[in-house]
Subunit: 408 residues, 2 copies
């Protein structure tokens, strides 16, 4: 169970927040040792309200790329806040930042900034439909593209009409994608694709080139727009759109989470082909033109350019993966480690090879209890402030936890 | 025309942002002297990139309540940013802030925080539908409740299906509301109401008690939820929900803009009656659990309690209204000043009494040219950092501008 102060906060929260907490940061589906609230963050570490320290493998579910409370990024934010932040018009930083994204991301000829990842995917959906005034949109079954009415994974409070004209296909299955496109006929507006399959609870899959090529070709043939939803994977896979290394350039890509190292910013990037469609939309938000967050994002892009953060997080991810593999082998545990190693999903299977959430839950709980924050069913995020020593500590801790599980 | 540096920024923006700018802060529909970009803000003043200073009557389209770069609020934000901001879980400030809102707003028994005003109205819509698993929602024709697929005022890129089961009524018209409710039959989920009619381009109207009572009674009779969308008006009309003074308490109210004095925060407040419905939703966002913005909001609520900001802005609004009335009378101009005086909408009519956007546009343009930022067709926002001298300056400037218009 989490500490006494955390429990006291939960009791207060229960009265003034429905169910005590909502959304992806609710601990209602997490193991008992996971604290609901955190009091302090620095680099790769978190402290709860009972002064317990955690090496954090969730990085805020993605936003933390260069370490919590990163001095360079936060100083840029604060200095801009003292000049001008949210006001009656944007600052010139918005132009600089749009230029920086267009320089960095191969397919991008323009940018539109917003706040939530869901704003960016919603704008992508609207842009695709406005492009040639068509309606059908292909979405991979089980993929997460946000929590608005049209995409929240739990449909309470939404209407079937809000998902009219979506056709679902199987990720990485070119045949299934072709079938969905055929079903759309001449009414195909766009195709959504995650950079890799990062659904919760199931093994992650890197993208298959044949599938990605099919998505691009269908969009070319049918005058539809290809959307890569890079909110979770953006800048964690490539210093460009995540499909760039495969040679596939989308028409639209949605970004969020890490692009301002934890400060609230998301954006939609588009190619020339999609520009006129975006011009037709009316999309906006009270805080979308904030100068401070754009200063933070410019600094984050600078760090992306000037540091080896990407190679470093991949190296640490590989170290974690091989370390955990050895631990699992030693104790004859059937472990699934999938996805890019810097965005690892770690799940457990029983001796027959079936997914075993009981072992997975006990493993995450044991890690958290010992001060290493692991998630039992969501991909995790290695951040650039982590060190080889941190990973070694995580592997040692895993050894202890697995030993306990085996002896229980 | 705006200055040379502003024009240069616009030219750069044109290349990397569709149409040069999007959303409510685009100057594409504003008079030529309105700068697109601002370089500095302090209190009630803005500076553009050509070092021109403006007394700003837009307050960032609402977020600025206690002055730009407010030291107390911004210090709270920065200090919390140094401890922990966006992380793997919320901070205890989220509980404190939910408690503070529930203490302050009579109808509120719980709070759920988000980023955009549109997030709060979208959650209200979903909560109303989840409450008794019904679909129809009544919305005042022409009212603005955000810019998501289901509510953006310009429907390019959206589908008619996304607005299925909305029934439109006339604001302040109890009869029209009853007719809409009758049309909904036993499928009524909720009624949206702005705190007062603050649509663009038309005169504002304070709420009619009979209409507000009818909305409450229909929701009681039909087990539907009444939603007051207080994003624009919240804490600018009352230190409570804006309908509190009329004795009408909604089940849900949506808040945003000014609640953290410019820092990005919105929220949905609910009564006990609506709690179970909200529990059924899956709504979330990467940055919704930010500690820094909650620290800023707690400080803003403290200022709401401890200062005469409300009486001060009303007094200044009255001063502006009577000053402009005199100017208009002197020059025999037919001027419409509507809405709460602290959220004034100022429009011009021709000698036959018909709306005259040419005079209105020329008036706003002349004001902006002389350093007083007025909007030609959106309600404005008096902020608490303004002084009687500021208002006197605005009225003097209006006198000069109107004189020019009359002599032209």
């Amino acid at each position: 169970m989490s500490g006494a102060n955390d429990q006291a906060l939960r009791a207060r929260a229960e009265r003034v927040i429905p169910a005590g907490m909502y959304g992806h940061q609710s601990t209602n589906f997490l193991p008992p040792n996971a604290p609901q609230f955190f009091a302090k963050a620095k680099g790769s570490y978190l402290w709860d309200y009972d002064d317990k320290k955690y090496l954090d493998f969730m990085s805020g579910y993605g936003p933390n790329l260069f370490g919590y409370c990163n001095d360079e990024v936060d100083t840029a934010y604060k200095e801009q806040m003292d000049r001008i932040d949210v006001a009656t018009g944007p600052t010139g930083l918005m132009v600089e930042l749009a230029e920086a994204f267009c320089n960095r991301v191969t397919h991008a000829d323009w940018a539109a900034f917003c706040k939530n990842g869901t704003d960016a995917t919603s704008m992508a959906l609207m842009t695709a439909r406005a492009h040639a005034d068509k309606r059908k949109v292909l979405i991979a079954s089980g993929a997460y593209h946000g929590a608005a009415n049209w995409c929240t994974p739990f449909p309470s409070g939404t209407l079937p009409e809000e998902r009219a004209h979506f056709i679902y296909y199987q990720y990485n299955d070119a045949e299934s994608l072709h079938a969905a496109a055929a079903e759309a006929g001449d009414d195909l507006a766009g195709i959504f694709a995650s950079p890799f399959k990062h659904d919760v609870l199931v093994d992650q899959e890197l993208p298959d080139l044949e599938y990605a090529k099919a998505a691009r070709e269908i969009c070319n043939e049918k005058n539809a727009l290809l959307i890569v939803d890079d909110i979770r994977g953006g800048f964690r896979i490539e210093r460009d759109c995540s499909w760039h290394a495969m040679g596939i350039e989308p028409d639209l890509s949605s970004w969020g989470k890490a692009i301002a190292n934890g400060h609230p910013l998301s954006c939609l990037l588009g190619s020339e082909r999609a520009r006129e469609a975006f011009k037709k939309l009316y999309v906006t938000g009270s805080f979308w033109f904030s100068g401070a967050v754009m200063a933070a994002s410019l600094k984050t892009l600078e760090l992306i350019d000037s540091t080896d953060y990407l190679e470093h997080t991949i190296m640490l991810g590989d170290q974690l993966r091989s370390g955990l593999s050895k631990v699992a082998a030693n104790y004859e545990l059937n472990i699934s480690q999938t996805g890019p190693s810097q965005m690892p999903l770690i799940m457990f299977n029983d001796d027959e090879g079936n997914r075993d959430m009981t072992i997975g839950g006990a493993f995450a709980d044991g890690m958290i209890k010992r001060g290493v924050y692991f998630h039992p069913f969501h991909n995790m995020f290695i951040n650039a402030a982590m060190t080889e020593k941190d990973i070694a500590l995580a592997v040692e801790t895993a050894d202890e936890v697995v030993k306990d599980i085996r002896s229980a």
